[in-house]
C-alpha cells in the first residue's frame, strides 16, 4: 500500500499533506478578510461559485507568520476535509509523491503532524488536515 502526499512550503518550512484532500492548486489568491473570524480562519475566497474559508495553516502550525490580505502567498491549495473546503495560502508546492510509509520521528512534534517523510533529502512532517481543522472548529480537541 502506498500513500500519496504533496510537499508544501510555508515560509521556510516544508510540510506534507495527504493528496487525498487536494482539490486544486492555484496561484496567488486575494482573499476577503472577515472581521471577528478566528485567527487561523481569517477570511474567505470565491471558489466554484461559492465562498470557502482561508486556512492559515502556517500560522496554525506555528511555522510561518500569519497570512496578510495585503501579502498574498504565491500558491493556494484548495483542500477538502469531509464537507469543508478551504484555501491554504502557501509559498511553494511540489508535485505529488507516493511513499510507502510515514515514519514516526521528531518531525511529528510539529502540531497536527502524525509522522514524517523524506523527499529529495528534505524531512517533512506530514500534517493531518482533518485534525487541524477539528482543532479550529472545536478548540478543546487534543493537541497532537
Amino acid at each position: 500500500m502506498t500513500i500519496a502526499i504533496m510537499p508544501v512550503q510555508l515560509a521556510s518550512i516544508w510540510i506534507a499533506v495527504g493528496a487525498v484532500h487536494l482539490q486544486e492548486v492555484r496561484g496567488a489568491v486575494t482573499w476577503v478578510p472577515l472581521p471577528g473570524a478566528p485567527a487561523h480562519l481569517p477570511g474567505v475566497v470565491p471558489w466554484r461559485g461559492r465562498a470557502i474559508a482561508v486556512l492559515d495553516l502556517g500560522g496554525l502550525l506555528g511555522v510561518a507568520p500569519p497570512v496578510r490580505v495585503t501579502e498574498p502567498r504565491p500558491r493556494t491549495l484548495i483542500a477538502q476535509v469531509e464537507d469543508t473546503t478551504f484555501a491554504i495560502p502557501a509559498d511553494t508546492v511540489r508535485e505529488v509523491h507516493t511513499v510507502v510509509a510515514i515514519e514516526e520521528s521528531h518531525a511529528a512534534q510539529v502540531r497536527h503532524a502524525y509522522g514524517q517523510v523524506v523527499i529529495g533529502g528534505q524531512v517533512m512532517p506530514v500534517i493531518d488536515l482533518a485534525h487541524a481543522l477539528a482543532a479550529l472548529v472545536r478548540p478543546q480537541a487534543d493537541p497532537r
Binding site: 476577503v32 472581521p35 461559492r50 474559508a53 469543508t84
Partner: protein, 122 residues
Amino acid sequence: MPMELLVIERGDVRLGVPAARVAGISDLSVAECDARLQQRLGQPPAAAGERCFGLRVQVPDGESLVTVAGRVSISAVREDEITPLPAIFAGIALVTAVVFAADAPVLVLDVDAMVAHARAER
C-alpha cells in the same frame, strides 16, 4: 434578479444590509453616533467630522435603530452574486454572505444578529 443592498463604506471596508429591511435613514450628529456595530467589526469609533446615520431596521417586533458611520449608498446586486459564508463561520461573525468584487467586496450583514447586537449594547 437584482437585490438592493444598502452599502456602508468606511475606509476599505464595505458592509451591506438588504435595503428591503431598512425602513428609513436619518442623519445623526457625531455626538449621537454610537457606531458600536462597526467597532465590533474592528473599526474605530466615529471621528469628528465623519458622517453618521441611523438606520431604522425592520424586525419582527417593529423597528430598531442601528447607528453607523461612513458613506451610505444603495447598490443593486444580482442575488447569485451574494455568496453565503461557509458553515464553518456560522455564529462567529455578524456577516452572513459576501459579494466578491475585485476592487471592493461587500460583507453582507445578518440583519437580525446586527439588531440583537445593537439592542444588547444599549
